[in-house]
Symmetry: C2
Subunit: 214 residues, 2 copies
């Protein structure tokens, strides 16, 4: 069950707190990269890594020998942040400027996923996020590749979601200043796919054709 803790109670601009699970899921699913904070002997680290979601769990993977994976396996407490920036909000006074964004922060501990079948299944989910259907085309991981890779997941229970989606809010005294006010939107764009030299010239998969079709 999702909970609100002292850590996840939104204290700055609490009116921006969002408690819809669908919003949390949308932020996690729309983004490809999260940032994981953890502390070990040599200090606190912030490491970016690819992620995906299945149900109420956030998944990541990595090489067994990586600093991040070794730390997560030690059971260290982590904070995972995912941020989508939607625009710059230009107000008439410097201090009323802000940003529109969707932000999720989760606290917890990662658990390792053992078992070759469970690992393959989790990696298939990752592939589905990247390109629907591709898991049935690309060669699946073999025993050696799977053994060198760690699969980790974290329950999305202790989470804080904050969404800012608004026009500039100027103070009464600034409303009539002759300064442009509004939103400069930012979004992620998908560029035209670039075929590798060793890619077959035949049929192009639907997920490649539709990648930049907007």
């Amino acid at each position: 069950m999702p909970t609100t803790s002292a850590r996840t109670r939104v204290r700055r601009l609490p009116e921006l707190a969002n408690h819809e699970r669908s919003m949390l899921h949308a932020i996690v699913d729309e983004s490809y990269v999260c940032h994981i904070a953890f502390s070990v002997e040599d200090g606190t680290h912030c490491i970016p890594t690819a992620h995906w979601r299945q149900g109420e769990y956030l998944y990541i993977h990595g090489s067994n020998g990586s600093r991040l994976i070794k730390a997560l396996k030690s059971g260290v407490q982590v904070s995972v942040a995912i941020t989508l920036l939607d625009g710059l909000v230009l107000a008439k006074s410097a201090f009323s400027h802000s940003m529109n964004y969707r932000s999720a922060v989760a606290y917890g501990h990662f658990q390792e996923i053992h078992g070759q079948d469970e690992k393959l299944e989790a990696l298939d989910m990752f592939m589905e996020k990247i390109a629907t259907g591709r898991k049935d085309e690309a060669r699946r991981g073999n025993f050696k590749e799977l053994a060198a890779t760690s699969l980790m997941r974290m329950p999305l229970t202790e989470t804080a979601v904050k969404v800012s989606d608004s026009e500039p809010a100027d103070k009464e005294e600034d409303i009539d200043l002759p300064v442009w006010a509004g939103i400069l939107p930012l979004m992620t764009r998908r560029g035209m796919p670039i075929r590798a030299d060793h890619s077959p010239c035949g049929t192009v998969p639907e997920y490649v054709k539709s990648w930049a079709a907007e």
Copy 2:
């Protein structure tokens, strides 16, 4: 002087390490949001916030009462990560998939900037990053606003930069598989500016006109 420490030596895929200061600066300047990791009594946190750069310093600002600002003022060690995702790299085997990205991680401690003039100057730099020339149009912060806000900066000395910009690298045994291989590019797009209702109808500043001009 920039240094390489045990923390910033790139151990995973060391061939992707980039030691050009210009690359570090470009990553910091192109992005609007960084993630700051720090540990306090109730655990390790990962908090997104807006940033800007001046010379070899990373700047942030925030409300005096915020958890992040209070932690930074206590002198806690931080790790700041900035990540730009440039594309998904689709190889012929699941395990050879990767991402193209530019990533910077900095370690250190934030210092507070005191003095009204110094704070105003730092905030002007932030405004210049957002919109060239706007610092001379929008109302500057007044004494009360400045007093409620903390300006912090961190030297970019202990840093690690990693850049991945490559085609899919398939193993010899997979080269001839009949699977599409290539890059699905991702980039940040600037959308058409949205004028606020209380914005004057007259002249539109150059930085608004040129925002989505590409």
